[in-house]
Protein backbone atom coordinates (compact mmCIF):
# COMPACT_ATOMS: atom_id res chain seq x y z
CA UNK A 1 0.00 0.00 0.00
CA UNK A 2 1.42 3.33 -0.98
CA UNK A 3 1.93 5.60 1.99
CA UNK A 4 1.51 8.94 0.25
CA UNK A 5 -1.92 10.53 -0.05
CA UNK A 6 -3.30 9.98 -3.54
CA UNK A 7 -4.43 12.91 -5.62
CA UNK A 8 -8.02 11.70 -5.70
CA UNK A 9 -8.14 11.33 -1.92
CA UNK A 10 -6.79 14.84 -1.58
CA UNK A 11 -9.36 16.32 -3.94
CA UNK A 12 -12.26 14.60 -2.17
CA UNK A 13 -11.00 14.92 1.39
CA UNK A 14 -9.56 18.42 1.36
CA UNK A 15 -12.75 20.53 1.20
CA UNK A 16 -14.33 19.05 4.32
CA UNK A 17 -11.00 19.05 6.15
CA UNK A 18 -10.32 22.69 5.33
CA UNK A 19 -13.87 23.67 6.26
CA UNK A 20 -13.55 22.13 9.72
CA UNK A 21 -9.98 23.24 10.34
CA UNK A 22 -10.61 26.86 9.37
CA UNK A 23 -14.05 27.21 10.94
CA UNK A 24 -13.80 24.95 13.99
CA UNK A 25 -10.27 24.00 14.97
CA UNK A 26 -8.60 27.37 14.41
CA UNK A 27 -11.34 29.39 16.18
CA UNK A 28 -11.11 27.04 19.18
CA UNK A 29 -7.32 27.23 19.26
CA UNK A 30 -7.56 30.99 18.98
CA UNK A 31 -9.91 31.01 21.97
CA UNK A 32 -7.44 28.91 23.94
CA UNK A 33 -4.65 31.25 22.91
CA UNK A 34 -6.66 34.25 24.13
CA UNK A 35 -7.36 32.53 27.43
CA UNK A 36 -3.60 32.24 27.94
CA UNK A 37 -2.84 35.89 27.13
CA UNK A 38 -4.04 38.08 30.03
CA UNK A 39 -4.86 41.74 29.40
CA UNK A 40 -2.34 42.95 31.96
CA UNK A 41 0.81 41.23 30.82
CA UNK A 42 2.46 40.11 27.67
CA UNK A 43 3.29 36.56 26.65
CA UNK A 44 1.53 33.41 27.71
CA UNK A 45 0.48 32.86 31.30
CA UNK A 46 -2.11 31.07 33.36
CA UNK A 47 -3.18 34.32 35.02
CA UNK A 48 -6.73 34.20 33.61
CA UNK A 49 -7.17 30.69 34.93
CA UNK A 50 -5.78 31.62 38.35
CA UNK A 51 -8.17 34.54 38.62
CA UNK A 52 -11.03 32.36 37.52
CA UNK A 53 -10.34 29.55 39.98
CA UNK A 54 -10.20 32.04 42.84
CA UNK A 55 -13.55 33.61 42.00
CA UNK A 56 -16.50 32.44 44.08
CA UNK A 57 -18.85 32.59 41.11
CA UNK A 58 -16.77 30.07 39.21
CA UNK A 59 -16.46 27.74 42.17
CA UNK A 60 -20.21 27.81 42.69
CA UNK A 61 -20.89 27.20 39.02
CA UNK A 62 -18.43 24.32 38.90
CA UNK A 63 -20.01 22.78 41.99
CA UNK A 64 -23.46 23.21 40.45
CA UNK A 65 -22.30 21.61 37.19
CA UNK A 66 -21.00 18.61 39.08
CA UNK A 67 -24.06 18.28 41.30
CA UNK A 68 -26.38 18.49 38.30
CA UNK A 69 -24.35 15.96 36.33
CA UNK A 70 -24.19 13.48 39.20
CA UNK A 71 -27.95 13.70 39.74
CA UNK A 72 -28.67 13.43 36.04
CA UNK A 73 -26.41 10.40 35.74
CA UNK A 74 -28.09 8.67 38.68
CA UNK A 75 -31.59 9.49 37.45
CA UNK A 76 -30.93 8.37 33.89
CA UNK A 77 -29.60 5.06 35.22
CA UNK A 78 -32.69 4.60 37.42
CA UNK A 79 -34.94 5.40 34.48
CA UNK A 80 -32.88 3.89 31.70
CA UNK A 81 -32.23 0.46 33.15
CA UNK A 82 -35.85 -0.66 33.51
CA UNK A 83 -36.77 0.91 30.17
CA UNK A 84 -33.92 -0.81 28.33
CA UNK A 85 -34.73 -4.10 30.03
CA UNK A 86 -38.39 -3.93 29.07
CA UNK A 87 -37.63 -2.71 25.56
CA UNK A 88 -35.26 -5.59 24.90
CA UNK A 89 -37.51 -8.32 26.26
CA UNK A 90 -41.03 -7.14 25.48
CA UNK A 91 -43.06 -8.06 22.39
CA UNK A 92 -42.09 -6.19 19.22
CA UNK A 93 -45.09 -3.88 19.46
CA UNK A 94 -44.45 -2.83 23.05
CA UNK A 95 -40.81 -2.48 22.22
CA UNK A 96 -41.48 -0.16 19.27
CA UNK A 97 -43.85 1.93 21.37
CA UNK A 98 -41.33 2.30 24.18
CA UNK A 99 -38.52 3.17 21.74
CA UNK A 100 -40.61 5.76 19.92
CA UNK A 101 -41.50 7.44 23.20
CA UNK A 102 -37.92 7.40 24.43
CA UNK A 103 -36.20 8.46 21.23
CA UNK A 104 -38.62 11.01 19.86
CA UNK A 105 -37.49 13.78 22.26
CA UNK A 106 -34.06 13.48 20.62
CA UNK A 107 -35.40 15.63 17.83
CA UNK A 108 -37.17 18.17 20.04
CA UNK A 109 -35.83 21.65 20.50
CA UNK A 110 -34.59 22.59 23.96
CA UNK A 111 -36.99 25.56 23.88
CA UNK A 112 -39.93 23.26 23.27
CA UNK A 113 -38.99 21.00 26.15
CA UNK A 114 -38.22 23.89 28.47
CA UNK A 115 -41.56 25.44 27.68
CA UNK A 116 -43.27 22.16 28.51
CA UNK A 117 -41.46 21.97 31.84
CA UNK A 118 -42.43 25.56 32.60
CA UNK A 119 -46.06 24.68 32.05
CA UNK A 120 -45.66 21.74 34.45
CA UNK A 121 -43.33 23.17 37.08
CA UNK A 122 -44.06 26.91 36.88
CA UNK A 123 -45.65 28.99 39.60
CA UNK A 124 -49.11 28.36 38.14
CA UNK A 125 -48.01 25.03 36.74
CA UNK A 126 -49.58 21.63 36.90
CA UNK A 127 -47.63 20.44 39.93
CA UNK A 128 -48.22 23.52 42.07
CA UNK A 129 -51.92 23.62 41.14
CA UNK A 130 -52.26 20.01 42.18
CA UNK A 131 -50.40 20.38 45.47
CA UNK A 132 -52.38 23.49 46.41
CA UNK A 133 -55.57 21.79 45.26
CA UNK A 134 -55.14 18.90 47.66
CA UNK A 135 -54.17 21.30 50.39
CA UNK A 136 -50.63 20.10 50.89
CA UNK A 137 -49.12 23.54 50.41
CA UNK A 138 -50.53 27.05 50.62
CA UNK A 139 -47.99 28.96 48.55
CA UNK A 140 -46.65 27.73 45.21
CA UNK A 141 -43.24 26.08 45.41
CA UNK A 142 -40.36 27.42 43.37
CA UNK A 143 -39.68 24.54 41.02
CA UNK A 144 -38.21 26.42 38.10
CA UNK A 145 -35.27 28.75 37.48
CA UNK A 146 -33.16 26.72 39.88
CA UNK A 147 -30.84 23.72 40.03
CA UNK A 148 -33.76 21.33 40.48
CA UNK A 149 -35.27 22.39 37.15
CA UNK A 150 -31.91 21.90 35.41
CA UNK A 151 -31.68 18.37 36.78
CA UNK A 152 -35.20 17.52 35.60
CA UNK A 153 -34.65 19.05 32.16
CA UNK A 154 -31.26 17.45 31.57
CA UNK A 155 -32.52 14.05 32.69
CA UNK A 156 -35.22 14.42 30.08
CA UNK A 157 -32.69 15.35 27.38
CA UNK A 158 -30.11 12.69 28.18
CA UNK A 159 -32.31 9.70 28.98
CA UNK A 160 -32.26 8.40 25.36
CA UNK A 161 -28.44 8.20 25.41
CA UNK A 162 -28.54 6.00 28.50
CA UNK A 163 -31.32 3.78 27.15
CA UNK A 164 -29.53 3.26 23.83
CA UNK A 165 -26.19 2.48 25.45
CA UNK A 166 -27.84 -0.07 27.77
CA UNK A 167 -29.97 -1.52 25.02
CA UNK A 168 -26.93 -2.36 22.89
CA UNK A 169 -25.36 -4.45 25.65
CA UNK A 170 -28.59 -6.08 26.77
CA UNK A 171 -29.40 -7.15 23.23
CA UNK A 172 -25.93 -8.61 22.88
CA UNK A 173 -26.44 -10.96 25.84
CA UNK A 174 -26.66 -14.52 24.61
CA UNK A 175 -30.09 -15.76 25.65
CA UNK A 176 -28.56 -19.23 25.95
CA UNK A 177 -26.69 -18.01 29.03
CA UNK A 178 -29.98 -17.44 30.77
CA UNK A 179 -31.31 -20.76 29.54
CA UNK A 180 -28.13 -22.43 30.77
CA UNK A 181 -28.44 -20.79 34.19
CA UNK A 182 -32.05 -21.87 34.37
CA UNK A 183 -31.21 -25.46 33.45
CA UNK A 184 -28.65 -25.43 36.26
CA UNK A 185 -31.38 -24.54 38.71
CA UNK A 186 -31.09 -20.76 38.97
CA UNK A 187 -34.34 -18.90 39.64
CA UNK A 188 -35.26 -15.67 37.80
CA UNK A 189 -33.92 -13.30 40.51
CA UNK A 190 -30.64 -15.21 40.63
CA UNK A 191 -30.38 -15.12 36.83
CA UNK A 192 -31.08 -11.39 36.77
CA UNK A 193 -28.53 -10.42 39.40
CA UNK A 194 -25.85 -13.02 38.63
CA UNK A 195 -26.08 -13.22 34.84
CA UNK A 196 -27.83 -10.23 33.30
CA UNK A 197 -26.61 -7.39 35.51
CA UNK A 198 -22.88 -8.24 35.33
CA UNK A 199 -23.09 -8.50 31.55
CA UNK A 200 -24.65 -5.05 31.26
CA UNK A 201 -22.04 -3.31 33.40
CA UNK A 202 -19.90 -2.21 30.42
CA UNK A 203 -22.88 -0.51 28.78
CA UNK A 204 -23.88 1.01 32.07
CA UNK A 205 -20.42 2.42 32.63
CA UNK A 206 -20.02 3.89 29.15
CA UNK A 207 -23.57 5.22 29.28
CA UNK A 208 -22.88 6.92 32.61
CA UNK A 209 -19.69 8.48 31.28
CA UNK A 210 -21.50 9.72 28.20
CA UNK A 211 -24.41 11.21 30.16
CA UNK A 212 -22.11 12.79 32.73
CA UNK A 213 -19.94 14.44 30.10
CA UNK A 214 -22.86 15.65 27.99
CA UNK A 215 -24.47 17.06 31.10
CA UNK A 216 -21.27 18.89 32.09
CA UNK A 217 -21.09 20.62 28.71
CA UNK A 218 -24.80 21.16 27.98
CA UNK A 219 -25.96 24.71 27.54
CA UNK A 220 -29.46 25.23 26.20
CA UNK A 221 -31.54 23.42 28.81
CA UNK A 222 -29.58 24.69 31.83
CA UNK A 223 -29.77 28.18 30.37
CA UNK A 224 -33.52 28.04 29.84
CA UNK A 225 -34.53 26.21 33.01
CA UNK A 226 -31.84 27.36 35.43
CA UNK A 227 -32.16 31.06 34.87
CA UNK A 228 -29.43 33.64 35.31
CA UNK A 229 -29.04 33.15 39.04
CA UNK A 230 -28.15 29.48 38.95
CA UNK A 231 -25.59 29.18 36.20
CA UNK A 232 -23.63 26.03 35.55
CA UNK A 233 -20.22 26.37 33.85
CA UNK A 234 -21.52 26.71 30.31
CA UNK A 235 -24.08 29.31 31.27
CA UNK A 236 -21.45 31.18 33.27
CA UNK A 237 -19.24 31.29 30.16
CA UNK A 238 -22.11 32.71 28.14
CA UNK A 239 -22.78 35.34 30.78
CA UNK A 240 -19.13 36.41 30.89
CA UNK A 241 -18.97 36.53 27.11
CA UNK A 242 -22.32 37.92 26.12
CA UNK A 243 -23.64 39.99 28.99
CA UNK A 244 -20.57 41.03 30.99
CA UNK A 245 -18.06 41.14 28.11
CA UNK A 246 -15.41 39.84 30.49
CA UNK A 247 -13.27 38.19 27.83
CA UNK A 248 -10.49 37.01 30.09
CA UNK A 249 -12.92 35.07 32.31
CA UNK A 250 -15.07 33.89 29.41
CA UNK A 251 -12.13 32.47 27.47
CA UNK A 252 -10.78 30.81 30.61
CA UNK A 253 -14.12 29.06 31.27
CA UNK A 254 -14.17 28.05 27.62
CA UNK A 255 -10.68 26.60 28.06
CA UNK A 256 -11.86 24.60 31.07
CA UNK A 257 -14.87 23.29 29.14
CA UNK A 258 -12.74 22.41 26.14
CA UNK A 259 -10.35 20.40 28.30
CA UNK A 260 -13.29 18.74 30.06
CA UNK A 261 -14.94 17.83 26.75
CA UNK A 262 -11.73 16.40 25.29
CA UNK A 263 -10.90 14.62 28.54
CA UNK A 264 -14.26 12.87 28.61
CA UNK A 265 -13.97 11.77 25.00
CA UNK A 266 -10.53 10.29 25.62
CA UNK A 267 -11.72 8.63 28.82
CA UNK A 268 -14.81 7.30 27.06
CA UNK A 269 -12.73 5.83 24.24
CA UNK A 270 -10.26 4.34 26.67
CA UNK A 271 -12.93 2.78 28.86
CA UNK A 272 -15.02 1.41 26.00
CA UNK A 273 -11.96 -0.06 24.30
CA UNK A 274 -10.85 -1.63 27.55
CA UNK A 275 -14.28 -3.06 28.19
CA UNK A 276 -14.58 -4.35 24.67
CA UNK A 277 -11.22 -6.07 24.96
CA UNK A 278 -12.22 -7.65 28.25
CA UNK A 279 -15.50 -8.80 26.76
CA UNK A 280 -13.68 -10.40 23.85
CA UNK A 281 -11.09 -12.00 26.11
CA UNK A 282 -13.90 -13.45 28.20
CA UNK A 283 -15.42 -15.14 25.20
Amino acid sequence: MSTGVKRETLIIGAPASLWLVVLLVIPCLFLLFQSLTPLSGTGLSLENYENLVESGTFQKALRRSIIVSVWVTVLTVLAGYPIALVASRASPRVRTLVMVIVIFPFLLSAVVRAYGWTVILGENGVVNDFLIGIGLIAEPLRLIQNTFAIIIGETHVLLPYMVLSLLTVIQRIDRNLEAAAMSLGASPPVIFFKVVVPLTLPGLLTGMLLVFSLSMTAFATPFLLGGPRSPILTVLMYQYAYTLFDWSKATAVAGVLLVLGLGFVILHRFVSRRLMRDAEAGR
Binding site: P27, A79, I83, V98, I103, S109, V111, P188, L224
Partner: protein, 277 residues
Protein backbone atom coordinates in the same frame (compact mmCIF):
# COMPACT_ATOMS: atom_id res chain seq x y z
CA UNK B 1 -25.52 -38.83 46.68
CA UNK B 2 -27.48 -36.40 44.54
CA UNK B 3 -28.42 -32.82 45.22
CA UNK B 4 -31.77 -31.32 44.40
CA UNK B 5 -32.61 -27.70 43.69
CA UNK B 6 -35.16 -26.75 46.30
CA UNK B 7 -37.75 -24.16 45.46
CA UNK B 8 -37.37 -21.26 47.83
CA UNK B 9 -40.75 -20.02 48.98
CA UNK B 10 -39.65 -16.44 49.45
CA UNK B 11 -38.64 -16.17 45.81
CA UNK B 12 -42.14 -16.17 44.36
CA UNK B 13 -43.38 -12.96 46.00
CA UNK B 14 -39.98 -11.42 45.26
CA UNK B 15 -40.36 -12.15 41.55
CA UNK B 16 -43.86 -10.72 41.54
CA UNK B 17 -42.67 -7.63 43.40
CA UNK B 18 -39.79 -7.24 40.95
CA UNK B 19 -42.21 -7.36 38.01
CA UNK B 20 -44.47 -4.76 39.54
CA UNK B 21 -41.52 -2.53 40.33
CA UNK B 22 -40.08 -2.92 36.83
CA UNK B 23 -43.28 -2.12 34.97
CA UNK B 24 -44.21 0.58 37.48
CA UNK B 25 -40.96 2.41 37.01
CA UNK B 26 -41.08 2.05 33.23
CA UNK B 27 -44.56 3.57 33.18
CA UNK B 28 -43.50 6.37 35.52
CA UNK B 29 -40.50 7.32 33.38
CA UNK B 30 -42.40 7.10 30.11
CA UNK B 31 -44.96 9.51 31.57
CA UNK B 32 -42.04 11.70 32.61
CA UNK B 33 -40.69 11.68 29.05
CA UNK B 34 -44.05 12.47 27.49
CA UNK B 35 -45.31 14.94 30.09
CA UNK B 36 -43.83 18.20 28.75
CA UNK B 37 -44.88 17.33 25.21
CA UNK B 38 -48.41 16.27 26.08
CA UNK B 39 -49.06 19.10 28.52
CA UNK B 40 -47.92 21.65 25.95
CA UNK B 41 -50.06 20.25 23.16
CA UNK B 42 -53.15 19.89 25.34
CA UNK B 43 -52.90 23.38 26.79
CA UNK B 44 -52.44 24.93 23.36
CA UNK B 45 -56.10 24.20 22.67
CA UNK B 46 -57.33 26.33 25.57
CA UNK B 47 -60.07 28.87 25.00
CA UNK B 48 -58.96 31.06 27.90
CA UNK B 49 -56.87 34.24 27.78
CA UNK B 50 -54.14 32.74 29.94
CA UNK B 51 -52.38 29.47 29.74
CA UNK B 52 -53.76 26.91 32.16
CA UNK B 53 -53.63 23.20 32.58
CA UNK B 54 -55.99 21.46 32.26
CA UNK B 55 -57.22 23.89 29.58
CA UNK B 56 -60.49 25.72 29.95
CA UNK B 57 -62.66 24.91 26.97
CA UNK B 58 -61.44 23.92 23.53
CA UNK B 59 -60.52 26.22 20.70
CA UNK B 60 -58.07 26.69 17.90
CA UNK B 61 -57.88 30.45 18.51
CA UNK B 62 -54.20 30.43 19.47
CA UNK B 63 -53.30 28.69 16.26
CA UNK B 64 -55.07 31.39 14.28
CA UNK B 65 -53.49 34.02 16.51
CA UNK B 66 -49.91 32.88 15.93
CA UNK B 67 -50.45 32.95 12.18
CA UNK B 68 -50.81 36.72 12.55
CA UNK B 69 -47.74 37.17 14.74
CA UNK B 70 -45.03 38.96 12.79
CA UNK B 71 -42.16 37.75 14.93
CA UNK B 72 -43.28 34.17 14.52
CA UNK B 73 -43.57 34.31 10.76
CA UNK B 74 -40.28 36.15 10.15
CA UNK B 75 -38.25 34.03 12.58
CA UNK B 76 -39.80 30.85 11.18
CA UNK B 77 -38.71 31.97 7.73
CA UNK B 78 -35.19 32.70 8.97
CA UNK B 79 -34.96 29.33 10.69
CA UNK B 80 -36.16 27.46 7.61
CA UNK B 81 -33.64 29.25 5.40
CA UNK B 82 -30.77 28.68 7.84
CA UNK B 83 -31.62 25.01 8.32
CA UNK B 84 -32.02 24.37 4.59
CA UNK B 85 -28.81 26.06 3.50
CA UNK B 86 -26.64 24.67 6.30
CA UNK B 87 -28.03 21.15 5.74
CA UNK B 88 -27.21 21.42 2.06
CA UNK B 89 -23.61 22.51 2.74
CA UNK B 90 -23.16 19.78 5.35
CA UNK B 91 -24.59 17.15 2.97
CA UNK B 92 -21.97 17.88 0.35
CA UNK B 93 -19.12 17.72 2.86
CA UNK B 94 -20.50 14.66 4.62
CA UNK B 95 -20.87 12.71 1.36
CA UNK B 96 -17.30 13.55 0.38
CA UNK B 97 -16.00 12.67 3.85
CA UNK B 98 -17.93 9.38 3.90
CA UNK B 99 -16.45 8.55 0.51
CA UNK B 100 -12.94 9.15 1.81
CA UNK B 101 -13.59 7.08 4.93
CA UNK B 102 -15.07 4.09 3.13
CA UNK B 103 -13.14 3.91 -0.12
CA UNK B 104 -9.73 5.44 0.45
CA UNK B 105 -6.69 4.32 2.34
CA UNK B 106 -4.03 6.68 3.58
CA UNK B 107 -1.90 7.23 6.61
CA UNK B 108 -3.72 10.18 8.14
CA UNK B 109 -7.11 8.47 7.94
CA UNK B 110 -7.47 8.24 11.73
CA UNK B 111 -6.76 11.96 12.05
CA UNK B 112 -9.22 12.68 9.25
CA UNK B 113 -11.92 10.72 11.04
CA UNK B 114 -11.30 12.53 14.32
CA UNK B 115 -11.39 15.86 12.50
CA UNK B 116 -14.73 15.00 10.90
CA UNK B 117 -16.17 14.02 14.27
CA UNK B 118 -14.57 16.91 16.16
CA UNK B 119 -17.75 19.01 16.23
CA UNK B 120 -19.15 16.31 18.53
CA UNK B 121 -16.09 16.41 20.76
CA UNK B 122 -15.99 20.17 21.26
CA UNK B 123 -18.88 21.38 23.45
CA UNK B 124 -21.39 23.25 21.28
CA UNK B 125 -21.42 26.31 23.47
CA UNK B 126 -17.62 26.59 23.27
CA UNK B 127 -17.75 26.37 19.49
CA UNK B 128 -20.49 29.02 19.45
CA UNK B 129 -18.33 31.33 21.54
CA UNK B 130 -15.17 30.57 19.56
CA UNK B 131 -16.97 31.29 16.29
CA UNK B 132 -18.53 34.45 17.72
CA UNK B 133 -15.07 35.51 18.90
CA UNK B 134 -13.68 35.22 15.36
CA UNK B 135 -16.71 36.99 13.92
CA UNK B 136 -16.03 39.89 16.27
CA UNK B 137 -12.33 39.93 15.40
CA UNK B 138 -13.13 40.36 11.73
CA UNK B 139 -16.15 42.63 12.38
CA UNK B 140 -18.51 40.31 10.54
CA UNK B 141 -21.45 40.65 12.96
CA UNK B 142 -23.48 42.19 10.18
CA UNK B 143 -23.42 39.00 8.16
CA UNK B 144 -25.36 37.07 10.76
CA UNK B 145 -27.31 34.98 8.26
CA UNK B 146 -24.09 33.85 6.60
CA UNK B 147 -22.55 33.17 10.01
CA UNK B 148 -25.50 30.96 10.91
CA UNK B 149 -25.23 29.02 7.63
CA UNK B 150 -21.55 28.37 8.15
CA UNK B 151 -21.61 27.60 11.88
CA UNK B 152 -24.53 25.21 11.56
CA UNK B 153 -22.99 23.48 8.58
CA UNK B 154 -19.89 22.82 10.70
CA UNK B 155 -21.68 21.22 13.63
CA UNK B 156 -24.03 19.16 11.47
CA UNK B 157 -21.29 17.50 9.39
CA UNK B 158 -20.71 14.66 11.89
CA UNK B 159 -24.47 14.23 12.43
CA UNK B 160 -24.90 13.67 8.69
CA UNK B 161 -21.71 11.71 8.33
CA UNK B 162 -22.84 8.81 10.53
CA UNK B 163 -25.86 7.61 8.55
CA UNK B 164 -24.23 8.34 5.18
CA UNK B 165 -21.06 6.57 6.22
CA UNK B 166 -22.88 3.45 7.33
CA UNK B 167 -25.04 3.30 4.21
CA UNK B 168 -21.97 3.78 2.04
CA UNK B 169 -20.07 1.11 3.94
CA UNK B 170 -23.04 -1.17 3.35
CA UNK B 171 -22.84 -0.58 -0.39
CA UNK B 172 -20.62 -3.24 -1.86
CA UNK B 173 -17.58 -2.02 -3.71
CA UNK B 174 -18.29 -4.65 -6.36
CA UNK B 175 -21.44 -2.76 -7.43
CA UNK B 176 -19.36 0.24 -8.35
CA UNK B 177 -16.79 -1.99 -10.01
CA UNK B 178 -19.51 -3.78 -11.97
CA UNK B 179 -20.78 -0.45 -13.27
CA UNK B 180 -17.29 0.60 -14.31
CA UNK B 181 -16.63 -2.70 -16.03
CA UNK B 182 -19.80 -2.07 -18.01
CA UNK B 183 -18.47 1.23 -19.23
CA UNK B 184 -19.72 3.74 -16.64
CA UNK B 185 -17.32 6.56 -15.77
CA UNK B 186 -16.71 7.30 -12.06
CA UNK B 187 -19.09 10.25 -12.32
CA UNK B 188 -21.87 8.14 -13.85
CA UNK B 189 -21.11 5.38 -11.37
CA UNK B 190 -21.59 7.74 -8.45
CA UNK B 191 -24.91 9.15 -9.64
CA UNK B 192 -26.39 5.94 -11.07
CA UNK B 193 -25.14 3.38 -8.55
CA UNK B 194 -23.73 4.87 -5.34
CA UNK B 195 -26.11 7.78 -4.88
CA UNK B 196 -29.32 5.71 -5.03
CA UNK B 197 -27.78 3.26 -2.57
CA UNK B 198 -26.86 5.92 0.00
CA UNK B 199 -29.98 8.03 -0.51
CA UNK B 200 -31.74 6.66 2.62
CA UNK B 201 -28.66 7.57 4.65
CA UNK B 202 -28.59 11.04 3.13
CA UNK B 203 -32.30 11.56 3.84
CA UNK B 204 -31.94 10.43 7.45
CA UNK B 205 -28.80 12.51 7.92
CA UNK B 206 -30.40 15.55 6.33
CA UNK B 207 -33.42 15.28 8.60
CA UNK B 208 -31.24 15.03 11.68
CA UNK B 209 -29.08 17.94 10.53
CA UNK B 210 -32.10 20.02 9.57
CA UNK B 211 -33.82 19.53 12.91
CA UNK B 212 -30.58 20.23 14.74
CA UNK B 213 -30.12 23.51 12.92
CA UNK B 214 -33.79 24.42 13.17
CA UNK B 215 -33.85 23.72 16.92
CA UNK B 216 -30.48 25.12 17.87
CA UNK B 217 -30.12 27.75 20.55
CA UNK B 218 -26.62 27.04 21.82
CA UNK B 219 -24.82 28.38 18.76
CA UNK B 220 -27.50 30.65 17.31
CA UNK B 221 -27.70 32.65 20.52
CA UNK B 222 -24.23 34.05 19.78
CA UNK B 223 -24.81 34.74 16.11
CA UNK B 224 -28.34 36.04 15.61
CA UNK B 225 -28.73 39.66 14.65
CA UNK B 226 -31.68 41.98 15.22
CA UNK B 227 -33.08 41.20 11.76
CA UNK B 228 -32.17 37.53 11.74
CA UNK B 229 -33.65 35.96 14.85
CA UNK B 230 -34.18 32.24 14.50
CA UNK B 231 -37.43 30.78 15.76
CA UNK B 232 -36.08 29.09 18.92
CA UNK B 233 -34.12 32.18 19.97
CA UNK B 234 -37.09 34.43 19.28
CA UNK B 235 -39.47 32.04 21.01
CA UNK B 236 -37.18 31.93 24.04
CA UNK B 237 -37.28 35.68 24.48
CA UNK B 238 -41.01 35.94 23.74
CA UNK B 239 -42.06 33.24 26.23
CA UNK B 240 -41.16 35.41 29.21
CA UNK B 241 -43.54 38.17 28.16
CA UNK B 242 -46.32 35.99 26.81
CA UNK B 243 -48.64 34.56 29.46
CA UNK B 244 -51.17 33.39 26.87
CA UNK B 245 -51.16 30.12 24.97
CA UNK B 246 -49.53 31.33 21.73
CA UNK B 247 -46.08 29.87 22.62
CA UNK B 248 -47.88 26.59 23.35
CA UNK B 249 -49.44 26.69 19.89
CA UNK B 250 -46.10 27.44 18.23
CA UNK B 251 -44.41 24.71 20.24
CA UNK B 252 -47.16 22.26 19.27
CA UNK B 253 -46.72 23.12 15.61
CA UNK B 254 -42.98 22.43 15.92
CA UNK B 255 -43.66 19.15 17.73
CA UNK B 256 -46.08 18.12 14.99
CA UNK B 257 -43.58 18.68 12.19
CA UNK B 258 -40.78 17.05 14.18
CA UNK B 259 -43.00 14.01 14.62
CA UNK B 260 -43.46 13.76 10.85
CA UNK B 261 -39.70 13.92 10.27
CA UNK B 262 -39.17 11.35 13.00
CA UNK B 263 -41.44 8.88 11.26
CA UNK B 264 -39.71 9.50 7.94
CA UNK B 265 -36.44 8.46 9.59
CA UNK B 266 -38.08 5.42 11.13
CA UNK B 267 -39.36 4.39 7.70
CA UNK B 268 -36.14 5.04 5.76
CA UNK B 269 -33.25 3.86 7.90
CA UNK B 270 -34.79 2.96 11.24
CA UNK B 271 -34.14 4.41 14.65
CA UNK B 272 -30.72 2.81 14.88
CA UNK B 273 -29.16 5.94 13.42
CA UNK B 274 -29.56 7.49 16.85
CA UNK B 275 -27.79 4.62 18.50
CA UNK B 276 -24.14 5.48 18.02
CA UNK B 277 -22.40 8.46 19.44
Amino acid sequence: MTYQVTEKLWEKPLIALGRVFLWGSVCFWLVFVLAPVVVTIVSSFTAAEFLTFPPKGFSLRWYFRVMELDWFLTSLQTSLIVATVSTFIATVFAVLAARVLTRHRFRAKGAFEILMLSPLIIPGVVFGFAFFNVVLQFRLEGLSLLNLFVAHSVVTIPLMLRPIWSSMAGTELSLEEAAQSLGATPWTTFWKITFPMILPGIVAGAIIAFTFSFNDITIAIFLVGPETQTLPVQLMSQIEYTPDASPAAITSIIIFFTLILFFIIDRTVGMDVFAQK
